[in-house]
């Protein structure tokens, strides 16, 4: 009897055990998942999140980094107040908008055209894809060096070519106040087209072929097929490229620092270079951080607008 009793009461006592196992088994993959992404998360926290928060904090201080942490003076909104009346700041905002506003669409338009061309049966298309992609992976200093030689006003190939074509007074390119920024736009487009083309090409090749076939059967010509089928299908890729390129070009620094140093005058001083000058040349880190915060907010707003714009326009949305 006693045995029976024990036997009878045993199942209820044992019943919770499988539940605990279930909970544990549910937790285990989560923990393993966290372990997998831990190195990345640590890197993100250490090198992105903490600097970002610190940067936000520094924007409200007057800090000369040489003085260490003890040299931090909290100044409230003073840096932002000064920024609002700083003509150099607003001029650099306009230059940044010009630079990113032409470079991003310019690169994407040429990128999509190149992708469409490379998507056809072109002889040596594998080699061509590699060639077009090379500028993206080459160091920006190497790219800059090549363009420095090409755009030399006296001995550069570009002006020699223009001279042959009968242009009597070709631009001075990088050493001209008028042409300095357009020259940087030109170089940035050149070095970014290959990257855009490869991303677009991947999107084109993953597009369901039956859509195009259906459009052809319906009698759509090449232009109609592009506008009604291909372009909507590319919209998610376009959004991705527009956002990432907008972010990278609003922070474009390497080429400018190497090729023009923000000059002649201030003609190529975009926001990122202005921020660099204030922080790393004049040691006004609080003010530089305030420029960084304003730049961050600006890019955030533009990205939100882009995101909003593409919503509902893609083929799959």
């Amino acid at each position: 009897m006693a045995v029976d009793t024990v036997t009878a009461t045993a199942p209820p006592a044992a019943a919770p055990q499988p539940k605990r196992r279930n909970r544990r088994s549910r937790r285990t993959p989560t923990r393993v998942g966290w372990l997998f992404i831990l190195p990345n998360v640590l890197g993100f926290v250490a090198f992105t999140l903490i600097p970002l928060i610190a940067g936000l904090g520094i924007a409200f201080t007057d800090w000369n980094v040489v003085s260490g942490l003890s040299g931090i003076d909290f100044v409230g909104l003073k840096n932002f107040q000064v920024l609002l009346t700083d003509t150099k700041f607003w001029e650099s905002v306009l230059r940044t908008l010009f630079f990113a506003g032409i470079t991003v669409p310019g690169t994407m338009i040429l990128g999509v055209l190149l992708a469409l061309a490379l998507n056809r049966d072109v002889p040596g298309k594998i080699a061509l894809r590699t060639i077009f992609f090379i500028p993206h992976i080459v160091s920006s200093i190497a790219v800059g060096m090549v363009w420095l030689l090409l755009l030399n006003p006296q001995s550069g190939v570009v002006n020699l070519g223009l001279g042959r074509l009968g242009v009597s007074d070709p631009p001075d390119w990088l050493v001209s106040q008028t042409w300095g920024l357009p020259s940087l736009v030109l170089i940035s487009i050149w070095s970014g087209v290959g990257y855009c083309a490869i991303i677009y090409l991947a999107a084109l090749q993953s597009m369901p072929p039956d859509l195009l076939e259906a459009a052809k059967l319906d009698g759509a010509n090449a232009f109609q097929r592009f506008t009604t089928v291909i372009w909507p299908a590319l919209m998610p890729t376009t959004t991705f490229l527009a956002v990432t390129m907008l972010i990278s070009h609003s922070q474009g620094f390497g080429l400018i620092a190497f090729l023009t140093g923000g000059g002649p005058g201030d003609s190529t001083t975009v926001l990122s270079y202005y921020m660099y000058s204030e922080g790393f040349q004049f040691y006004r880190f609080g003010y530089a951080a305030a420029i960084g915060v304003m730049s961050f907010i600006g890019v955030l707003i533009l990205t939100a607008i882009l995101w909003r714009f593409q919503k509902g326009r893609g083929l799959y949305t």
């Binding site: 040489v66 040299g71 030399n152 990088l174 050493v175 923000g262 000059g263 005058g265 201030d266 000058s277």
Partner: protein, 442 residues
């Protein structure tokens, strides 16, 4: 114009070589232990400087360790640019063990002194008779002084001089007058301009030679003095020389980055004369990297106004300091004095003239500076008078407010004038406004 009495670096060395030994003895007696104290004849020192180790520091440190076997020295080279200086500042601030370090330029050292990163060595300098010219109250001023205190001593003194392609001068039959002025310079540069060769790289630094120290600041440093006629005259001279092709066009200089690589253009014969300092001679001696078949000759800088005294556009450099946080400040002082006494022996091959020169060794220094092919590459006799002339007056700035920014404003605006994007009048108005704003921002 300031004090025109001269600092003679030849008088300095006297017994400085023995000072390191004296420091050791003083340390042994325990009378001069600094905040970081330590022993003056033992320890491990970390030294940060901008000169590549192989261009002198390695040899100097080897000689030091031979003489002071109890002290081990590790030299770390940092690149003297924005990021390199930030690295040094962060390291000093963050507690990286650095005992001695070099700063390059008044703006850099003033920031470090103001941040409390440097040891006050006023008393140490005062107690070392051989360093008297670098004391706070020395006349003429040969050192940077901060609120009456000394935190650094310049290890290098590089007077400015004109380096010329002697072959081009001789071919044109040009004799440079001993007391030449900027107008003579302009005239000679015009005569030397033929075909693709320009007479000069750029125009002489007129305003610096006229105004000397603190040239951008009005009395007290509360405002700029850009409106001083010396700036206008200097700019008009630059413009005139560019317009008659006697200097290189600014476009060409910027497009080919010749402000950084002027040696390439000079040694390939693209211009005949340039105002420069001793560092340029190491390129002349490097015939593998810069092959050329002409000799070079040195001249004193032309006077801004004929017959009138003027400042030299050279500079004191290699500003050596001891870190406030050093735990071995006595050993650091031993090394400090050794470096100053021996820079003339070991650092010259890297193109750095010492601030302390033993008069008996000027020929050795010159030999080391000019290299093995000196007879074919240089008009040797022309160099000694310009490099070791005790009568030149090198300005030492005392005001540093917004100095880096003002220099950048002046440079960028001058570029604009020479590129034809701004008039001289606009330059004066614009630079004045911006320089005043920079001083206000501090």
């Amino acid at each position: 114009m300031g004090d025109f009495s001269r600092f003679s670096r030849r008088t300095v060395l006297g017994g400085l070589a023995a000072t390191a030994g004296a420091a050791v003895l003083a340390g042994c007696g325990g009378t001069d232990a600094g905040p970081g104290g330590g022993s003056p004849d033992s320890g491990q020192l970390n030294v940060w400087g901008g000169v590549p180790a192989e261009s002198g520091p390695d040899d100097l440190i080897a000689a030091f360790q031979k003489e002071h076997p109890g002290i081990t020295v590790t030299y770390t080279r940092y690149v003297n640019d924005d990021s390199g200086n930030l690295k040094l500042d962060n390291s000093l601030q963050g507690g990286v063990p650095i005992d001695l370090f070099f700063s390059y330029g008044a703006g850099r050292i003033s920031k470090r002194v103001n941040a409390g990163l440097t040891l006050d060595i006023t008393d140490k300098v005062k107690e070392t008779p051989e360093l008297a010219p670098f004391a706070a109250d020395a006349s003429p001023q040969a050192n940077y002084v901060f609120d009456g205190k000394i935190h650094t001593v310049p290890a290098a003194l590089s007077p400015g001089f004109v380096l010329a392609n002697a072959d081009l001068l001789d071919d044109a039959g040009i004799e440079v007058p001993e007391d030449w002025d900027v107008n003579d310079y302009h005239e000679i540069a015009t005569k030397l301009s033929r075909g693709n060769t320009h007479g000069s790289f750029v125009a002489p630094e007129y305003a610096r030679m006229v105004l000397g120290p603190d040239m951008y600041y009005a009395e007290g440093g509360e405002a700029s003095r850009i409106e001083d006629p010396a700036f206008r005259t200097g700019l008009e001279l630059s413009l005139a020389m560019q317009n008659d092709n006697s200097t290189m066009p600014k476009q060409e200089i910027l497009a080919q980055k010749l402000e950084t690589f002027s040696q390439s253009a000079f040694l390939s014969g693209r211009f005949a004369m340039m105002a420069t300092q001793a560092y340029m001679l190491r390129y002349v001696a490097d015939t593998k990297e810069y092959p050329h078949d002409f000799t070079v000759r040195a001249f004193p800088l032309p006077a801004p106004i004929k017959g009138q005294e003027h400042w030299n556009a050279g500079a004191y450099g290699d500003l050596l300091s001891i870190s406030q946080k050093s735990q071995q400040q006595d050993a650091a002082w031993t090394f400090f004095t050794f470096w100053l006494a021996n820079a003339g022996t070991y650092m010259v091959k890297g193109g750095r003239l010492p601030s302390v020169v033993d008069p008996a060794k000027t020929d050795d220094i010159l030999d080391s500076l000019l290299g093995e092919e000196k007879e074919t590459l240089y008009d040797v006799d022309s160099f000694k008078p310009v490099l070791f002339d005790d009568t030149v007056k090198v300005p030492v700035d005392t005001i540093y407010t917004g100095a880096t920014e003002i220099e950048q404003i002046v440079k960028k605006s001058t570029d604009q004038v020479l590129l034809g994007d701004m008039t001289v009048d606009q330059w004066v108005t614009d630079v004045k406004k911006q320089a005043d704003a920079a001083i206000k921002k501090g």
